[in-house]
Amino acid sequence: MNLTLKVWRQKHSQVPGHFETHEARGVSEDMSFLEMLDVVNESIIEQGKDPIAFDSDCREGICGMCSLVINGVPHGGHRGTATCQLHMRHFKDGDTITIEPWRAKAFPVIRDLVTNRSAFDRIIQAGGFVSVSTGGAPDGNALPVPKEAADRSMDAAACIGCGACVAVCKNASAMLFVAAKVSHLNLLPQGKPEKDRRALAMVKQMDAEGFGNCTVTGSCEAVCPKEISLNFIAKLNRDYGVAALKGK
């Protein structure tokens, strides 16, 4: 199939960007979206021009590095699918596809479709861990974890930190990301001792990074490639409220 791409080009964060039109010819339906971009880039490089910069690494939907807004929807709008796993069989010959970077103040553009998501790392550094140093951990079976708790924790821990939740949110809120991380640890007995301070510290850092507030519209859950549930935001609000009331 042949496609027309309208791609956001921006040399770096200090200069304004613009849309550039590229033709993608002979695209096979078995290609992934990123492989289609690879093919377009090959021809751009052969002409000695700057290829379209975009992030990707594992290309199997788990590292969270890929990050494109495709036709206005982060990751392209197929349930539970990251951009790297979106295949061209979902498009048809003659389509025009708009491709933009994540748009959020806290994720400044580095170049073209590449953004800086280090704010997420700083939120984790503020409290997204269990304070246990290597060595001296008790036997793995010393502390039974109810299966339901382990399963729910895993549901939250599946977050890949891609930032689609922020990119789609009208407020550029990072609540789903923070909720997933707080819940992953707060649901487990291993995470209990730091439950309160974790919720407070991570939310504080989230605010400091310039993410917006959550108005629970749920678009984050809809685009999340790991289908992280909005219920975790309710849990975060509860954990945060309890911690705040305790005055910690």
């Binding site: 492989e35 590292c63 295949h87 246990v132 290597t134 008790p138 793995g140 399963d151 992953h184």
Partner: protein, 638 residues
């Protein structure tokens, strides 16, 4: 220089304990005076950086991704082994050790493997304490499953995302130290050279991938945790960015590279769909617990739908050939069996390069819900990529390059032949011999990072007494100059071919001549063509843009430049090893039944290659493998 692995004396089971006592310690108050540069932030790098910082060392950690959480350990699916024997099925440290030695086709060091099995239990405890949400039984205790090459259930897992969860555990520990100011993290930063001062590794040269700035960092020791070199084949299950630059640069500075021909071809990957293919996706080996591998008995049936082929016209070839291990035969054996079936014209799918992995029996026995709970994310992934529903039709799979057992030679302390340069995780060669068993990579990465390196590196500091130079030292200036010159050279060729097209050509050549099966003539041909291709790379490469900006084409070309050299050493090693063992299968050396035929008399050694300068043949150093505990036998999974 004699190759001394520094294996401690004494009985196997006591070597590590004895060694830990013999290692010199660094006073807690003195630890903060040592700077350690950790390159890579996967399971090995993140666990090492976190643990070293917890001990009080000053750590800098570098990764090329935008966050340390994205290192490719994250993609490991199936699980991690530990000799806990929770299921009471006969497991023990000794059995895990034995299985790993045997699985590696008797080409790994006994002492290293035994230590790995010993610390496997500590790893599990550590990860649980970090809040890794492992699968649990209803009683709240940890669940296990079986994996290839073992007859006990010793694999712990977190759905099909075990690597992700273990990496997040290590990343959390690392993040805690970053938050405490004990680790300084450099993301989007690629290491391009090692700096050796007075014979000791004392620094690295890195490039900031966003600004293009090339800078030097000095330290008291350098730790490479940069993963394997599987991407030399272009198509592999590695991430797009995974590269061999760090270990290759170390090799050129004097760190021997061991057993590069030991490459693992994983039997269960999604087949290639066309020339556009940029990488291959693994379907976890755990699927072989419930899936049955088969091809049609008759060539004529290959074009038919799977459902139209009756039971008696199917060849469940793993169950037929290896009745006691069946579908759980080790990876090298399963991969070769798939190739054999396809070579015989009985492959399925486009191009006949595929075999079925069928869940119909398991679904009938256990119900679709149970299978969905066990492997749901893998079935979803399969459907996204192929557009097919594996609950209704069997999956199509084919072997693909997955892991490299070879890597930088290290001694028992994980130190390379350059003092002060430590290499951990997949980047070293140490524990898997000629073939790695499933669920052992996560175990090794974390063993090295959490429980081995933190002990052994202190001994180096306490005994070497090699002061840290400043980055104004002449060696740093020279390395900076060399790196800068290489960058300018890559940018100045302005030829006609992209790095991708040259890399793809290299990969295809290697896959054909040095892939699942190798022979003398093919390897010699590859050794003739690789230099030609490298010549073309350096004369006809097109890298657009400049250095002072995010330039992904430049990053990539730089990595390919090193693959172009490493590929040659890979073939040299494969040609010299005139035997078949594990992942290295030489067609000339096989039994009448087509199984790998080792030559223990002549090849029971680690082949460590020393760089001898551009245009010169590398020198071979042999580390003999001595088996005191295990009797070397022909592997049998029948």
């Amino acid at each position: 220089m004699p190759l001394d692995a520094k294996i401690p004396s004494g009985p196997l089971a006591q070597k590590w304990d004895k060694h830990r006592f013999d290692l010199k310690l660094v006073n807690p108050a003195n630890k903060r005076r040592f700077d350690i540069l950790v390159v890579g932030s996967g399971l090995a790098g993140a666990s090492a950086a976190a643990t070293l910082a917890e001990l009080g060392y000053k750590v800098k950690c570098f990764c090329f991704q935008d966050s340390p959480r994205r290192a490719h350990s994250i993609a490991a699916q199936g699980g991690i082994n530990a000799a806990k024997n929770y299921p009471n099925d006969g497991d023990s440290i000794y059995r895990l050790f034995y299985d790993t030695i045997k699985g590696g086709d008797y080409r790994a060091r006994e002492a290293n493997v035994y230590r790995l099995a010993q610390v496997s239990n500590n790893i599990m405890d550590q990860c649980v304490a970090q809040g890794v949400p492992f699968a649990r039984e209803y009683g709240g205790f940890l669940a296990n499953r079986s994996f290839g090459g073992a007859q006990v259930s010793r694999t712990f897992y977190a759905r099909g995302q075990t690597g992700q969860q273990l990496l997040l555990g290590a990343y959390q520990a690392l993040s805690r130290q970053v938050g405490l100011g004990a680790v300084k993290m450099y993301s989007r930063t690629e290491m391009l050279d090692v700096v050796v001062v007075d014979g000791h590794a004392k620094g690295i040269i890195v490039r900031d991938l966003v600004t293009g700035e090339i800078s030097a960092h000095a330290g008291d020791a350098v730790v490479l945790a940069t993963g394997g070199y599987g991407n030399v084949f272009f198509l592999s299950t590695n991430a797009k960015g995974s590269n061999a630059t760090a270990i290759w640069r170390a090799y050129k500075k004097g760190a021997y590279l061991a057993n590069p021909c030991y490459t693992q071809i994983h039997p269960t990957c999604i087949p290639v769909s066309g020339d556009h293919q940029s990488k291959l996706t693994l379907m976890s080996e755990s699927l072989r617990n419930d899936g049955r591998v088969w091809v049609p008995k008759r060539k004529e049936d290959c074009g038919k739908a799977a459902s139209a082929i009756p039971e008696d016209a199917r060849d469940y070839y793993l169950e037929r050939k290896y009745p006691s291990f069946g579908n759980l035969a080790p990876r090298d054996i399963s991969s070769r069996a798939a190739k054999e079936a396809c070579d015989a014209g009985r492959g399925v799918g486009p191009g006949g390069r595929g075999v079925y992995l069928d869940f119909a029996d398991a679904i009938q026995r256990l119900g679709e819900d149970v299978i969905r709970a066990r492997y749901g994310n893998l079935f979803d992934m399969y459907e996204k990529i192929t557009g097919e529903n594996a609950y209704q039709n069997p999956m199509r799979i084919y072997p693909a390059v997955h892991y490299t057992m070879g890597g930088t030679w290290v001694d028992y302390n994980l130190m390379s032949t350059i003092p002060g340069l430590f290499v951990i995780g997949e980047a070293n060669f140490s524990d898997h011999g000629a073939n790695r068993l499933g669920a052992s990579a996560l175990m090794q990465g974390l063993a090295d990072g959490y429980f081995v390196l933190p002990y052994t590196i202190g001994n180096y500091f306490a005994t070497a007494k090699a002061p840290k130079p400043s980055t104004s030292h002449a060696e740093f200036k020279k390395a900076l100059g060399d790196t800068d010159a290489l960058m300018k050279r890559l940018l100045s060729i302005k030829g006609k071919r992209t790095a991708t097209s040259l890399h793809r050509e290299l990969g295809k050549l290697l896959w054909e001549k040095c892939g699942m099966a190798r022979n003398d003539a093919g390897l010699k041909e590859a050794l003739k063509r690789i230099p030609e291709l490298r010549e073309e790379f350096w004369s006809n490469l097109m890298v657009p843009g400049e250095n002072g900006e995010l330039n992904q084409a430049l990053e990539y070309a730089w990595r390919v430049a090193d693959f172009m050299e490493l590929a040659e050493l890979l073939c040299v090693d494969a040609l010299h090893r005139r035997e078949s063992c594990g992942g290295h299968f030489r067609e000339e050396f096989q039994t009448s039944e087509g199984e790998a035929q080792r030559d223990d008399e002549n090849f029971s050694y680690v082949a460590a290659w020393e760089y001898k300068g551009q245009g010169n043949a590398p020198a071979l150093h042999k580390e003999p493998l001595v088996y005191d505990e295990v009797h070397m036998s022909t592997r049998s999974y029948k």
